[in-house]
Symmetry: C2
Subunit: 546 residues, 2 copies
């Protein structure tokens, strides 16, 4: 082989043959990967530490223009002719991104459904990067595909506990159930079927029915899958599906309909924040029996409200409509015995989106799309001879291509599997409960603060409030001011024609003192803005006088 | 705050208040994140090392059933009631996934466009997991969004070097160009525009034209975007776009058309492996001027062949058709001065897919979708008041929602930025050249081996061959036998009505001895299969005799 030196990766590039000195430390995988990663990870951790100190708060001060300048200055040329070397590049760029992060692990970074990841999940994710399994064929991910099948089945059973799968396993102790089921399947099965077929739903044969889930990039992709399956079901009977959702539904419902070539969703007003059964009934009556998909929400983005799922399913069924529930936010309440009642009726949906990168504390992405019966996933069946040729599938190689609309796909399931195993159901429940309790505490604090108006008692972990009487410009201005100064990341919500601040609590470690500090900060910013405006008005008056 | 203990994360769960002893080490971010990650990363690296030793080859032996059993045994219950703790969970599950991986860092794992990631990229990716920026709004990713804009512009300029952007920067030293441009923009701009607007294309205003790119989950999503923009362009003039592609095109072209509600692509036969200009002309003639999108391929999945892009663009333009080039595989040849000529004509496309998780050595995902003018991305414009309200955008907060069809989105760009900076253009070029040279070497070895037939001289890094004269069952059987035994991961390709072995070389460290070992392994497996068949036939004859 000709000798190409890999400039920039090593202090000395001795122009060695492949396998020579210059190649040591190049790759993350193989036997030498961990040794190559060790010093580089040290550099990353040091840069993260330095960046957090440099930032000194929930986000960098200065606003977009200044942050942009600082990143450019630190980063240098994006694609220099000669590389800077691994250590220097990691130090500069990880440091810049850390110093310029809106870090959700900081208690005052609480605007969005943007969670602080668990250390255990972030650590597990390194193995996904290093081994790089790709989830589109078994021979790129032999073990990871088994793990994905196990986790997907288990999480689907959490959503649909009543539905008995072909393997008869239900409840939370699914792995044991799955192993029993496999022994079972071994007894039942002739040659040509295999252990995995009983775990993964085979989209070609529908084998392995019972609750199942697909891994998605988030609620947006999961909602898209919900609409897509409804589109295909309607097409199968020669119809066009109409999506019906509340005004409180996530924007991705609209975007998915557009992407899939469907008519824009029929939007039902939600004056009380949730989709109401009566209003839904009226909307469905108007469709006169045309195929419809009702999209309900368990945890709206603006307020965390949960639609009355059981009643909505009843109304939809009465009209022959399908139901997809976007539980991207609220879904993980299922881990908690105390809180799961808030999702009553979820189990009767035709499909459910839920994310573990919101409540669930995973690094992005960790989305899921669950169905009560894996056979429902058959419309996603897809063949590409190099990945799932019929003779390979018949010979026992699992067919994975129907498990996603993506082809190459990262094993996001690994970090999820490690987290669930590390914390257990009780540990996950504890974090969910703690986070929701913090929201109640913040709501009480806001309600007790003169000059602030609380929107409602929090349904999940979102607290919405504003200056008494409302003042849209003030709300928007205070939010931007806190961002510019690097003091806090607050969200915003337009509700009932007015603008509100939104605090989405997703940090299970938030302390009472953090919540008090947040309220005080907003109070001070309001006061300052009001004073500033008064001064400006006075100046105008004086100017007029002069 | 009520005290919820986080069972399973710690040996002792003292039921502390938030912020107490039980919480130390919980989160990956914040000031304490790096200290929490350090020991857990040590556990991960040890488990990766152990798993590689246990596997002892490119993939685990035993085939799907046995691998599945081993993973289940190691994993235990997916969701136990009480957690096993972070260390135990990482050790068990990372170990199982490593032991059961098809590791592309092993030279005999060479079936798919499935690359061994660089250690520097995998290390950088940890920062993405720990800080968890989400790329759907500035206030979730202040620095990461700037970095993404910089990298996207730079890579787009690599694809479209002729096109002068509004900032006048072209060529490879883009960061310097961008900074100049910004100084420029500062001089030109009034209040309300900002530094970032000159880097990110603003989909609302079209500001910041010139080549631009979006980050995607891979070639599949990028191809989908190419079709989507063509669909919208046709709709804008009241038409329906027809996709026209070669029989050699990636399956995602067909799947995207289905997803988007378009007619199935018109498929042009490619008897010589590439889409031929004459045949394309005939196909376009048949459409009689209806809006068309031609999808060409720069690096087919089966053989790595590159369509004659310049000629195809000429034919398409002559028919008023748009051109999308799927350069998911071949795109990174642009880094190499010696090899980029193979992509002549790419720069005249309307849009281009290219991945850095193939040639580019990134952990999945690292896809890009490039356009010669960022204004072309406007149809992706999308508004969600909580993420990009007009008054926020007017006040200078960058609008990121039009940068993807996803909402929550991991900063995959960080690892890419670190890699480009670490290796430089020359370093990337060296790896690409080295990998392509290895393919030529393997092809020569195969051509010189009695009993093997080489399909063609490799166009990129894919080598296709079969037993002389062809024997589909033998090809499929040998491939599966090598998989079952954990000896090698070979791919397969159906070409000209016959089945071939496919070796996709993506490991820049593959040595001549590895290539020789691979050829020998296939030879032996063939011999064994032929002997086995002969024995079986003899047995049948004997049985008939008995």
């Amino acid at each position: 082989m000709s000798a190409f030196t890999v400039d920039g990766l090593h202090e000395t590039a001795p122009g060695a043959e492949a396998g020579g000195e210059a190649d040591v430390g190049l790759l993350a995988g193989g036997g030498g990967g961990p040794a190559a990663l060790r010093p580089l990870l040290g550099t990353v951790l040091a840069a993260l530490e330095r960046g957090a100190v440099e930032r000194g708060g929930p986000l960098p001060a200065g606003g977009p223009r200044e942050v942009s300048w600082r990143v450019r200055a630190a980063a240098g040329a994006v694609l220099p002719e000669v590389g800077a070397g691994a250590g220097a590049a990691l130090d500069a760029l990880v440091g810049a991104v850390a110093a310029g992060a809106a870090d959700p692990a900081e208690p005052l970074c609480a605007a969005h459904l943007h969670c602080p990841p668990l250390a255990v999940a972030a650590a597990a994710d390194v193995a996904a990067s290093a081994l790089n399994p790709s989830m589109d064929s078994w021979d790129q991910a032999p073990a990871a595909s088994t793990l994905e099948a196990m986790v997907c089945r288990e999480l689907a059973r959490l959503v649909f506990p009543d539905v008995e799968g072909a393997d008869g396993a239900a409840g939370t102790d699914g792995a044991a159930g799955a192993i029993d089921a496999e022994a079972d399947a071994g007894a039942r099965s002739g040659p040509g079927t295999d252990a995995l077929a009983d775990t993964y739903t085979d989209t070609k044969t529908g084998a392995g029915a019972g609750p199942d889930a697909l891994v998605t990039s988030g609620g947006t992709e999961a909602n898209q899958l919900g609409l897509l399956l409804a589109r295909q079901a309607a097409r199968a009977v020669g119809g066009q599906v109409r999506v019906v959702c509340g005004a409180n539904a996530h924007h991705s419902v609209h975007r998915s309909a557009w992407l899939l070539g469907l008519a824009p969703p029929l939007v039902v007003p939600t004056p009380r924040g949730v989709l109401e059964p009566e209003a839904l009934g009226v909307a469905l009556d108007g469709l006169e029996g045309a195929p419809a998909l009702v999209v309900a929400t368990a945890g709206t983005t603006d307020t965390g409200d949960v639609d009355p799922l059981a009643e909505l399913v009843g109304v939809a069924r009465g009209h022959g409509a399908r139901v997809h529930v976007d539980a991207a936010y609220g879904g993980p309440l299922l881990f908690s015995e105390r809180l799961r009642g808030r999702l009553a009726g979820l189990r009767w949906a035709d499909s459910v989106s839920f994310d573990l990168h919101k409540l669930g504390w995973q690094p992005v992405a960790a989305g899921f799309f669950a169905v009560p019966d894996g056979a429902a996933l058959r419309p996603l069946e897809h063949c590409a001879d190099y990945l799932n040729a019929d003779d390979d599938t018949e010979a026992g190689l699992p067919d994975l291509l129907g498990r996603s609309l993506r082809t190459t796909r990262r094993p996001d399931v690994l970090k999820v599997a490690v987290t669930l195993r590390a914390l257990g159901r009780a540990g996950m429940a504890g974090l969910v409960e703690r986070t929701c309790a913090a929201a109640v505490q913040l709501a009480e604090l806001v309600a007790g603060t003169e000059g602030f108006e609380l929107y409602a008692r929090p349904a999940l972990s979102t607290v919405v409030f504003r200056p008494v009487g409302g003042d849209d410009a003030l709300v928007a201005g205070v939010r931007r001011r806190l961002l510019e100064r690097g003091q806090a990341v607050l969200g915003r919500a337009s509700l009932g024609g007015g603008l509100w601040w939104k605090v989405t609590l997703l940090n299970p470690l938030v302390a009472p003192s953090d919540l008090a500090a947040l309220v005080k900060l907003v109070e001070e910013a309001v006061e300052e803005a009001v004073v500033k405006e008064a001064v400006a008005e006075e100046a105008v008056v004086e100017g007029a006088d002069a």
